[in-house]
């Protein structure tokens, strides 16, 4: 792959509605945080998708690696008792 010559890479997180989660939307190129915010605004919110934006330099993200996958995630596959499905939900509680 050829080297990326278009400034630094930033990850973009968009919050659709006030109070909701910021969800990863994609990435943008930018030389600083201000430019990253504006580029994210222009690319990911132009059809009214957003109410707030976070941008984070991509190299600040610490990610799990493929070789860790088994060690990290397989042990939780058969722990059915960790799912809160054995409780009776209080009436009116929609999200637990």
């Amino acid at each position: 792959m050829s080297k990326d010559t278009q400034l630094d890479l930033w990850e973009v997180f968009i919050q659709a509605k006030v109070g909701g989660n910021h969800v990863h939307a994609g990435s943008v190129h930018a030389s600083d945080g201000k430019m990253a915010l504006q580029n994210a605004r222009d690319i990911y919110t132009r059809r009214n998708e957003g109410s707030s934006i976070w941008v984070v330099p991509s190299d600040c993200i610490v990610a799990s690696t493929l070789s860790d996958t088994e060690m990290f995630f397989d042990p939780s596959a058969d722990k059915i008792y960790r799912h809160p499905t054995f409780y009776v939900l209080p009436e009116g509680a929609k999200q637990i």
Partner: protein
């Protein structure tokens, strides 16, 4: 001239300004230095096209001669357009584009802040909506001016050249004619001298911060109030109006 005619002319001029500049900016599509900026510039272009629709449809309504916004946009010749000369100039390089955007957005910020208080309710409503876009365009172009002005010697030189080329077109933004007096006394438009004062102050302070010199020339280009334009507008209109003129009944 009645006040209604004067208002029609004024709103038409605002529409022409947005339409011609929006078309000009759309020429950046697929040509910007990077993908992100390509979208930013075409977003700006679309903001202006949207604004042109608002002003031209209001102008059509004021005229009351059953011409539509499309008739006004596509079926008038060069001499019947009243946009300022600055907005019809070719896109130039990126520094030129950003310098023009900054000068223009600074002007629009004060202009539309004033018009948001207009006694004409519809004009005030459009201005109120537009001002949000203008603030974004201003911020975007101001940030680029900072980067170019304080960047390398090449970027600084390109920005200086852009300001040198644009400066003779700035005065025309503030010109008024006798018909504007009618609107001013009715509280529909406001004093352009005051807008020029705050604009000058703002532009000077930003350019000083990035060590860009303002040309000393006192000469300024003029003509748009009479429909007299640079050689560039005709070419722009030829491209913009070609389809409608060649196929008048075309629908898409």
């Amino acid at each position: 001239m009645t006040r209604q005619d004067a208002l029609f002319n004024y709103v038409l001029k605002l529409g022409d300004q947005s339409l011609v500049y929006g078309h000009r900016m759309s020429e950046w599509c697929s040509k910007a230095p990077m993908l992100e900026e390509d979208l930013a510039l075409t977003n700006i272009a679309l903001d202006y096209i949207g604004r042109a629709r608002a002003f031209l449809s209001y102008a059509a309504e004021l005229e009351g001669k059953s011409r539509s916004e499309d008739d006004l946009a596509y079926k008038r010749g060069e001499r019947e357009f009243y946009n300022n000369l600055m907005v019809e100039l070719p896109i130039g390089d990126f520094a030129f584009t950003m310098a023009r955007q900054f000068l223009l957005s600074s002007y629009e910020y004060f202009l539309f802040t004033g018009l948001a208080q207009s006694k004409d309710e519809k004009l005030a409503a459009i201005a109120n909506k537009v001002i949000k876009e203008v603030r974004y365009h201003w911020t975007h172009s101001r940030d680029w001016l900072m980067r170019l002005g304080l960047g390398t010697s090449v970027s600084h030189e390109k920005l200086q050249r852009a300001i040198d080329e644009l400066w003779i077109y700035t005065d025309e933004l503030f010109e008024t004619g006798p018909e504007d007096q009618l609107l001013k006394s009715a509280g529909i438009v406001f004093n352009m001298d005051e807008i020029k004062t705050v604009w000058t102050e703002l532009v000077h302070s930003i350019l000083k911060e990035i060590d860009i010199t303002i040309p000393e020339t006192t000469f300024s280009q003029t003509g748009s109030r009479l429909g007299i334009h640079t050689e560039h507008l005709g070419h722009l209109l030829a491209e913009m109006q070609y389809l409608v003129r060649a196929y008048p009944e075309a629908r898409w």
